[in-house]
C-alpha cells in the first residue's frame, strides 16, 4: 500500500482537490456513552478540510451516532466533548445531510423537494440555479414528477440535488449509496464526488471499496474504538473504479474489517 497519511502530504494535495470552494475542517473530540455504557472513550475524529472523510465500520458499530452528533440530531447517547469547525465559527446552519433513505417529501414534486431547504428558511428560491442543478444531475426530464414516479437511483440523485442546493460547508452522508445497485452506486459516487468537491464531507459507510474510492481520510470504527487508516493513493476522488492500487486498498480494508 502506497498510502501516506502524513498530514503534510495530505495538505499538499489539497490544491488538486480544491475547487473554487474551500470549506474548513471539523473536529469532534470526546466520549460517547449509551445509558452509562461507554461506546467511545476519548476519541478524536478530524474531518479533512474540503475533502472526503470516510467513517468505515460494520453495521451497529455506532458510526451513524457520530454523524448524528455532528448533525445535531437525537442519538439517545450522552456526548461529553466538543464539535468545533476549524474556523471556530458556530456549526449550526452550516450542515447538509443525506441518508440511505432519500428523505424526499412524497407530496412535493422534484423541484419542490430540491427547493425545500430555501422554503424552510423563508428565503426566495433561486429557481434558475435549481433548474441548472437539476439539469446537471440529468433530472430535467423528471422535474415535474413526484418521488413515487422516480426510480431509486433517480430519487437519490434528487436527494443529492437538494443537498447541493443547500450549498453548505459540511456535508454529512449516512450510507447514501448503500441501497443502490452496483452501477447506480458507482455513478452516484462519481456525481457526489464531482459536485461536492471542496466541501468537507463525512461519509459513513460499511463498504470498504467505497471508502477506498472516495476517502481522503479513512477512519475505522470497531470494538468501541476509532482508528485512522491511510487512504488509497491519489488525491483526486473519486479514484477510478479500475485503479489497481485503489482496489487492493479496498481489499485490504475488507480484510482489516474481518479480523
Amino acid at each position: 500500500m502506497a498510502g501516506n497519511v502524513g498530514s503534510d502530504s495530505y495538505e499538499s494535495h489539497m490544491g488538486v482537490i480544491r475547487d473554487s470552494y474551500d470549506a474548513p475542517g471539523l473536529r469532534l473530540a470526546g466520549s460517547v456513552r449509551f445509558g452509562g455504557v461507554p461506546l467511545l472513550a476519548d476519541v478524536t475524529l478530524d474531518l479533512a478540510p474540503g475533502g472526503w472523510t470516510c467513517l468505515l465500520g460494520p453495521s451497529g458499530s455506532g458510526k451513524s451516532t457520530l454523524l448524528r452528533l455532528i448533525a445535531g440530531l437525537d442519538t439517545g447517547a450522552d456526548f461529553d466533548g466538543t464539535i468545533i469547525p476549524s474556523d471556530d465559527k458556530d456549526l449550526s446552519g452550516r450542515v447538509a445531510y443525506m441518508a440511505q433513505d432519500d428523505l424526499l417529501m412524497p407530496w412535493l414534486d422534484l423541484r419542490g423537494n430540491v427547493a425545500l431547504g430555501a422554503r424552510l428558511r423563508g428565503d426566495p428560491v433561486d429557481w434558475p440555479r435549481l433548474d441548472a442543478l437539476v439539469d446537471r444531475l440529468g433530472l430535467s426530464d423528471h422535474a415535474a414528477k413526484r418521488p413515487a414516479k422516480l426510480s431509486g437511483g433517480q430519487r437519490q440523485r434528487v436527494a443529492l440535488a437538494r443537498t447541493l442546493m443547500e450549498n453548505k460547508d459540511f456535508v454529512l452522508l449516512d450510507e447514501p449509496f448503500s441501497a443502490l445497485d452496483a452501477r447506480t452506486r458507482a455513478d452516484m459516487q462519481d456525481l457526489a464526488a464531482r459536485h461536492l468537491a471542496g466541501r468537507t464531507v463525512l461519509l459513513v459507510t460499511h463498504d470498504p471499496m467505497e471508502a477506498a474510492r472516495l476517502g481522503h481520510k479513512i477512519y475505522l470504527m470497531e470494538n468501541n474504538a476509532l482508528s485512522e487508516i491511510p487512504p488509497a493513493p491519489g488525491a483526486t476522488v473519486p479514484r477510478p473504479g479500475d485503479d489497481a492500487a485503489m482496489l487492493s486498498h479496498g481489499a485490504a480494508l475488507l480484510e482489516r474489517l474481518r479480523t
Binding site: R68, A71, G72, L73, S92, G93, V95, A96, Y97, A99, D101, L103, M105, P106, W107, L116, G117, R119, L120, R121, R146, P147, A148
Partner: protein, 283 residues
Amino acid sequence: MTMADRAPALLDAEESRRQARARAERIARWALPLVMLLGTLWLWDRIVAWNEIPHYILPGPGRVWDSLTGDWAMLWEAALLTGKITLMALALAVAGGAGLAILFNQSKLLELSLYPYAVILQVTPVVSIAPLIFIYVESKTAGMLLCAWIVAFFPVLSSTTLGLNSVDHNLRDLFRIYGATRWQKLWLLQLPSALPYFLGGLKIAGGLSLIGAVVAELVAGTGGVGAGLAARIQEAGYRLNIARMFAALSMIAAMGVVIFAALSLLAHLLLRKWHDSAIKRET
C-alpha cells in the same frame, strides 16, 4: 399505456388471457351487484304475491316505487333537510376532530386532560345522550347538529392524531437539520403526512354523521324545523304506510352511498399523485 403499446402484447397468449380476465372482472364489478338487486326485487315481489301479504305488513317493490315517485316532493324536501344536517355535522366534525388533533399534538397537557373525555363521548351511545341534549339545547337544529357531531368527530380526531404522530423519523431529522420551526414542521411535514389518515377517518365520519343526524331526528321529532327522512319514516310507521317507510329508507341508504362515494373520490383526487394507497403501479 396506449392501445398502440398494447397491440404487440396481445399476441402473447398468456397476456391476452390475463386481459380477458381483467375485462371480465371489470364487467362483473357492476353487473353482479345489479343482477343481485334485480333477483332480490323479483323474489321480494313474488313472496308478497304468492303469500298474498297485505301491503300494510309488507308492500311489494312496485308499491314502494309508487310511493317513492308519488311522494317524491315530500321525500325530497325531507332528504334535503337530513342532508343539510348531515353535511353541516360532517363539516363541524372535520373542524372539531382535526382541530382537536392538532391541539393535542401541540400540547401534551391538553391531550392528557381532554382525550379521555373524547373517548367517553365516543363510547356512550348517542341515543342515550340525545334526549338530554334536546332538554338543554333550545334550537332543534343546534341539537341535531350536536348529536351528529358527537358521533362523527371521533374517527376524524383519532385518525388525524395517528397521522400527525406517524411522520417518518428520518424526515423529522431532515427538518431538524434544516432548522424548521415548530409551525413549519406542522404545516409542511405533519399535516401532509397526516392527510391520508385524515381522509380515512373522514370516510367513516361521513357515514357516522348521517347516522347521527337520523338518530337526532328520531329523538327530536318534527316540531319547528320540518321533518327529515327519519322523521318521515317514524310518521309513516304511525300511519302503517309501510311503502313510504321503505321509500324513505332507500333514500337514506342512497344518501349514505353518495356521501361515501364523494369522500372516496375526494381522497383519491388528493392522494393519487403521491400516496401508495392511490398510485397505480405501471408494472
